[in-house]
Symmetry: C2
Subunit: 104 residues, 2 copies
DNA sequence: ACCTCAAATCAAAAAGTTTTGATATGATTA
DNA sequence: TAATCATATCAAAACTTTTTGATTTGAGGT
């Protein structure tokens, strides 16, 4: 089940309402942490926790500028996520097989 | 935060290793519950729990035939999920804005 | 009608995730 | 170098999800 853990990581990033709200903010452009935190019901350490998950998923990238951390949506991360989503949800005609219980 | 709950539902379906393993089985074609259960470390009620989540997400559809329930990947569900994923992870040029903390 | 089988539901326990507040780290400023 | 600011890390509490075993429902078969 190990390989699925890795795929699950990308989607785990997407299944928390607060992380979705953070992504929504990043859609309008790069933001630094303090700005992301402000409009949300989130403490500083709470934001940091969620940003780590988003960055680890590859969907968000960050860079440092002095003491600020800036975050933005990653194009590569998005493409990877879409590819993964299509892979795991599209029938694989090559290895089609009958249900051997009911024969369909 | 309510609207995000609904989006989160699709991705929640994808962030459990057992559900990913179930989807993997469905890629090779429609299956009935008893067949899905067999190769996995999953009790009957455990499978039922996960199938409900997958069906509720729209990624999987089911139909009854006598006492068997059959499951298969849903094309509409996949398309909806990809669309949603793209929406939430693609920058929205129309409402671009500067980070008012650092001016970028 | 009764029996059997497949799947769904339920409640409690177990496991996992998120939040919180406190403390640590690392960069800048005085 | 000490003071301050932004962010990260940590451990414990709060909350959520998953697993488990028992029971229920609903469709056939006898």
């Amino acid at each position: 089940m190990g390989a699925y853990q890795e795929s699950a990581k990308v989607f785990k990033a997407l299944c928390d309402p607060k992380r979705l709200a953070i992504l929504e903010q990043l859609r309008s452009g790069e933001k630094c942490a303090c700005v992301l935190q402000e409009p949300m019901e989130l403490t500083q350490s709470g934001l940091s926790y969620h940003m780590k998950i988003l960055c680890d998923s590859g969907l968000v990238e960050s860079w440092q500028e002095g003491k600020w951390t800036h975050y933005r949506l990653s194009e590569a991360g998005r493409e990877n996520a879409v590819k993964l989503l299509l892979t795991i949800t599209t029938p694989d005609v090559a290895q089609e097989s009958k249900c051997f219980s009911c024969g369909r």
